[in-house]
């Protein structure tokens, strides 16, 4: 796996993992902790999500530099780790954006035969 498509796949995998982790944390862990006084789920999922989010960020940075994302697009990728469900939306958009980047025509002069 290499190049832009490899970076996209790595990012998508991490986006899915982090997205699911955040959903568990917000919709299972936190209600159990504060509603039912069962903090165990949040205590386990919270730190794991935190460290996986670091891996997610690294994958996002790698993709952003290869696809030359704007700062706003990068901010959306960062926000995907904080807002539930955002990771899945952003992941779709990021994939579409990478598709567009790959489909852009080569600048003239760049294709000159060696």
């Amino acid at each position: 796996m290499s190049g832009l498509t490899g970076a996209l796949l790595r990012y998508k995998v991490m986006a899915f993992i982090v997205g699911v982790g955040l959903l568990i944390l917000v919709f299972v862990g936190v209600p159990l902790q504060y509603g039912a006084n069962v903090p165990q789920v949040a205590e386990i999922v919270g730190p794991i999500h935190g460290f996986l989010y670091i891996v997610y960020l690294l994958a996002a940075v790698d993709l952003a530099r290869r696809a030359r994302f704007t700062l706003l697009q990068m901010a959306a990728m960062v926000g995907a780790g904080f807002l539930p469900f955002l990771a899945f939306v952003i992941e779709r958009r990021v994939e579409r954006r990478v598709d567009e980047v790959l489909a852009e025509p080569e600048p003239s002069g760049d294709t000159a035969a060696p």
């Binding site: 498509t5 489909a103 760049d110």
Partner: protein, 195 residues
């Protein structure tokens, strides 16, 4: 050098990292105070926030130093064009359709059943393949001649070798070499200062 550090993109990156790092450090310190108040979970979080700050610095540095010509989308397009050109060599004009058609390829008489798949095609997630490649961009790679088989020894002398080698190379290295060749062809001054 100027364009690297003072381009509009670079300046926004500087601004972002200047906001990001202190933000992470403040949040980390807040978690430290919570940890000292007896919140066990906050010990872990107070370790995570400084890491976020470091990731921010790393991101800033790597984004500022990434040359889109060599590592970015343009390099990847070159690679995909090379893969499409290799397929077009045997499968005719329709061969550029890419990954989706890979299952049909053994029907081509000159294809070997055990031939190694071409990296430019197999590595595409479904749906984002060379189908969108403009046919003209297949130029840089010699597309005539048979697609070489997996075994080097079976190659006809000379024919097809350059294309095969390019595909076996690390894509980043191939893109880098392309860039070097481009620079060598141009009359650009050799000094890095003038970039």
């Amino acid at each position: 050098m100027r364009t690297r550090w003072l381009s509009r993109r670079a300046l926004t990156l500087h601004l972002a990292v200047v906001l990001w790092v202190p933000g992470c450090l403040v949040a980390g310190w807040w978690q430290v105070t919570r940890a000292l108040d007896g919140n066990g979970l906050s010990y872990l979080y107070s370790a995570e926030w400084p890491i976020f700050a470091v990731v921010g610095v790393f991101a800033w540095w790597s984004l500022v130093h990434t040359d889109p010509e060599t590592v970015g989308a343009r390099a990847q397009r070159r690679l995909m064009a090379a893969g499409a050109a290799g397929a077009a060599g045997t499968a005719g004009a329709a061969g550029a359709a890419g990954a989706a058609e890979q299952s049909e390829r053994p029907e081509q008489p000159e294809q070997r059943a055990g031939e190694a798949p071409q990296p430019g095609q197999t590595e595409q997630p479904a749906g984002m393949a060379p189908t969108r490649q403009p046919a003209g961009s297949a130029g840089p790679v010699p597309s005539a001649g048979p697609v070489p088989s997996a075994e080097w020894g079976e190659l006809p002398a000379g024919v097809g070798r350059p294309a095969r080698r390019r595909e076996e190379e690390d894509p980043a290295l191939a893109a880098y070499n392309d860039r070097l060749a481009e620079l060598a062809r141009s009359d650009a001054p050799k000094s890095w200062r003038r970039r």
